[in-house]
Amino acid sequence: MLSNIIGNLWKQFTSDLKEFLYNIQEFFLFSLRAFFTFPKMKRYWRDVLDQMAICGTDSIPIVLVSSISIGALLAIEVGNLLEDFGAKTMLGRSTSISVLRELGPLLMGLMLSARFGSRNGAELGAMKISEQIDALRAFGTDPIAKLVMPRLVAALIMFFPLTALSDYAGLHSAAYLAEHYHKLDPGIFWNSVYPRLVPKDFVVGFLKAPVFAIIITLVSSFNGFSARGGTAGVGRSTIKGIVVSSGLVLVANFYVSKIVLENM
């Protein structure tokens, strides 16, 4: 009896492990194929522009909301803390580092994972379930070149201005709160920001943009392409795409910061 249970559990474990490793292998092959289709960019430039509008301009509101909120929150909390030590004049420096290096890009990544990633997963999953992706292949069109490459190129291009926007909005909301909540003179705030900013502060933040773009686009598209099992399957693959890409964004955020800060 017990040996049967253990046997079944072991069988289940090995089966799950095999499926996990198979999915990893498929994901890397899928990613390689997406990069190898870059030379077809000229042919699909309209699709690239469409995707730039979707992941770029259409994402501005959510990026603004998240960056303004985090900038404001940081200004209040860090300002309260610094006030206890009589170091309120350092508020600009503290918030700018947090916004530029860490929280600005991270929150933007998570928001885009939810917005752009879920759209990719659901759209491509629905296309897979309704055999539209098979139809592309059946009529001689490479679905990765047509559907994934434009998304990847668009994300790689648009995540940079979105990061810049996120940084700008986050810093200005922090400055606004510093002035009106902590009654800190704007000149003091900005003086503690600009002279102390160094190139690596920007490198850390902006290097995360392409890393997040690759993670979010490829993970969500792969899960869309792997959807099966009807509309419920589309839901499952979309959720899986968001969960995995959000997790990977958090991990990548840590490693990019660590690698850049240790080497610059």
Partner: protein
């Protein structure tokens, strides 16, 4: 000509096709008849190289496509048109955009020729006035006709139909079957029709293969189906529709 030689295929632990062989000659309509979930649509996907068999060969005009790369398969696939069971129309494109999509995508034809070919298919499918509608605004039968038009627009030599009348009302089914019969008479095309409705077979097919439990149990001209003594074939001849 399309030929499957000793093809076997499994999905996980389940063996779908067991060492099956069949031929589809040019300019003939061949039906593949069998109950749902037996692997009929899988045979069409094998013919297009969308999936690869575990063993055996799939020959298109004598060329084995099982070992071909995806990019090499694109040329082979353009010899065939495929009408998917759910039509697989691009729901964000209009009817004329759907029809012209692969011409614009894969052949560098001038826009005037694309428009001409799209117009021909619109007329063939009897969809004048619907050119700018989205697929969602059409009936099931109309969508099927658009899917047939899209498959034909490349001027292929063979069209593969996956359950062409599934989910359609009797009038629409009859229209679709007439359209399929017209394809051969007017365009000299061959076709493979996968179906579980035996009336579709008698209405359109020159020859038929019956797939049962992963094996071909009958492969001959349609008229001879009545002579078969196989219990499964006897049962489908009496029931007409395979409700399995």
């Amino acid at each position: 000509m399309i030929e499957l030689k000793n093809v076997c295929l499994s999905f996980g632990d389940k063996q779908i096709l067991k060492n099956i062989s069949l031929k589809v000659q040019d300019n003939t309509i061949k039906a593949i008849l069998g109950p749902s979930g037996v692997g009929k649509s899988t045979i069409l996907k094998l013919m297009l190289g969308l999936i690869k068999p575990d063993c055996g060969k799939v020959l298109v005009d004598g060329t084995d496509i099982t070992s071909m790369k995806e990019t090499e398969l694109y040329e082979i696939r353009r010899k065939m048109g495929m009408v998917f069971q759910g039509n697989a129309l691009f729901d964000s494109l209009t009817i004329s955009q759907n029809l012209g999509f692969f011409l614009r995508e894969n052949l560098n034809l001038p826009e005037s020729e694309v428009a001409q070919r799209v117009g021909e298919q619109i007329r063939f499918a009897g969809l004048e006035g619907y050119e700018d509608k989205l697929p969602e605004s059409l009936s099931g039968g109309m969508r099927k006709r658009v899917a047939i038009g899209r498959a034909m627009i490349f001027k292929p030599r063979m069209i593969l139909f996956d359950e062409p009348t599934a989910g359609l009302d009797p009038v629409s089914s009859k229209k679709i079957l007439s359209l399929i019969s017209d394809l051969r008479h007017n365009n000299n095309l061959g076709a493979v029709i996968v179906t579980h409705i035996i009336d579709d077979v008698f209405h359109t097919a020159d020859c038929v293969s019956v797939l049962y439990q992963g094996e071909i149990i009958f492969d001959d001209v349609t008229e001879k189906l009545h002579d078969s003594q196989h219990p499964f074939i006897r049962s489908i001849l009496s029931d007409k529709i395979l409700e399995l």
